[in-house]
């Protein structure tokens, strides 16, 4: 019985052929679906039940009795959405580079991805502070609370994804992401895409449907 050679293989043995880490990240994503479903469910359930303004898609009277524009600003978020979609595209290319051992492709696109992500978070920070400026605090009304909570938790996920991607970038920069370790980027990328698809749902549900 040749133990030694058996082990080398046994450490990577999986019954399905799918790598453990990849399966794990997908399982986690499945669980996250329920997390966002609950938040979106709460948002939609409470949609339109505010006692007073601000309103997402209609004019509203503020405390002073002044008529205010609708809260949500579609052009800004459309730009943010585009950024996120771009980043998903970029990270796929980065992964492609990593798998083929093309360091330039890997690093270049990864940096681009991170840029887009940072700008998206920046967009959200700007949006939130702008809303706050316009008189929509966290507790102002149900719309405000549900909106900030849903998009805020999404933003937190984006931030975590960024942290992860940046960590992978650092590893890559130090030349420690050879093709056989591309899975480390693939996991981050999968999570990143997931964050992106959640936004694909949030964008119409929150911003476009009145």
């Amino acid at each position: 019985m040749a133990h030694a050679e058996a082990h080398a293989d046994e450490h990577h043995y999986t019954a399905t052929g799918i790598d453990n880490k990849k399966l794990a990240i997908w399982t986690f994503i499945g669980s996250e679906c329920m997390f966002f479903a609950s938040l979106i469910g709460v948002y939609l359930t409470y949609k339109g039940r505010d006692v007073s303004g601000p309103k997402p898609h209609a004019e509203w009277l503020d405390k002073a009795g002044v008529l205010q524009e609708q809260m949500l600003e579609i052009p800004l978020v459309t730009f943010g959405t585009a950024l996120l979609l771009f980043s998903s595209f970029f990270v796929v290319l980065a992964l492609n580079g990593a798998q083929r051992g093309n360091r330039k492709q890997l690093i270049g696109w990864l940096v681009a991805t991170i840029f887009c992500g940072v700008f998206f978070v920046g967009m959200q920070v700007y949006e939130f502070s702008h809303f706050a400026h316009r008189g929509m605090g966290y507790t102002t009304n149900l719309f405000a609370s549900t909106f900030y909570t849903l998009t805020g938790f999404h933003g937190t996920h984006v931030t975590l994804g960024l942290l992860w991607l940046i960590s992978v970038l650092v590893v890559a920069l130090r030349g420690k992401l050879p093709p056989e370790k591309a899975l480390n980027l693939e996991m981050a990328a999968l999570y990143w895409h997931f964050v992106d698809v959640v936004w694909i749902v949030i964008f119409p549900v929150v911003y476009l449907i009145r």
Binding site: K22, L23, G30, A37, G41, N96, Q99, A182, V197, I209
Partner: protein, 120 residues
């Protein structure tokens, strides 16, 4: 046992495919925003009155398309194991059911339970 990287190189699509997907994604997003604008500004009027009754469905279908594209191509579900697709689809299905169920039970309640004193 195939190492994943090798496996991936053979079956994962090239960057042309990724680019095509990206283009479609942007087009669909543009469509979404356009649909929103039509209804929002009520212009052009003909299109708006056509779109208005179904705009929610249209938006949801468009975003479902986008969702599917990212999942299938960028997340490689189209090429990776069926098991992963099963995990994701099952979760999504249940997630959708939960969202709808929450809305239905709460709105059904609000539709029949009086909020002001029915004796007054």
């Amino acid at each position: 046992m195939a190492t994943d990287a090798l496996h991936a190189e053979h079956s994962h699509p090239g960057w042309q495919t990724y680019l095509k997907v990206a283009v479609v994604l942007f087009a669909l997003t543009a469509l979404e925003v356009w649909a929103y604008e039509i209804v929002h500004r009520h212009q052009p009027a003909a299109l708006a009155s056509l779109l208005e009754p179904v705009v929610v469905e249209v938006l949801l279908i468009l975003s479902a398309f986008k969702f599917a594209l990212v999942a299938m191509f960028y997340m490689h579900l189209k090429m990776d194991g069926k098991l992963l697709t099963a995990i994701f689809s099952f979760s999504l299905l249940l997630a959708a059911v939960i969202v709808v169920a929450l809305m239905v039970v709460m709105h059904y309640l609000w539709s029949h339970a009086p909020t002001v004193n029915p004796l007054k």
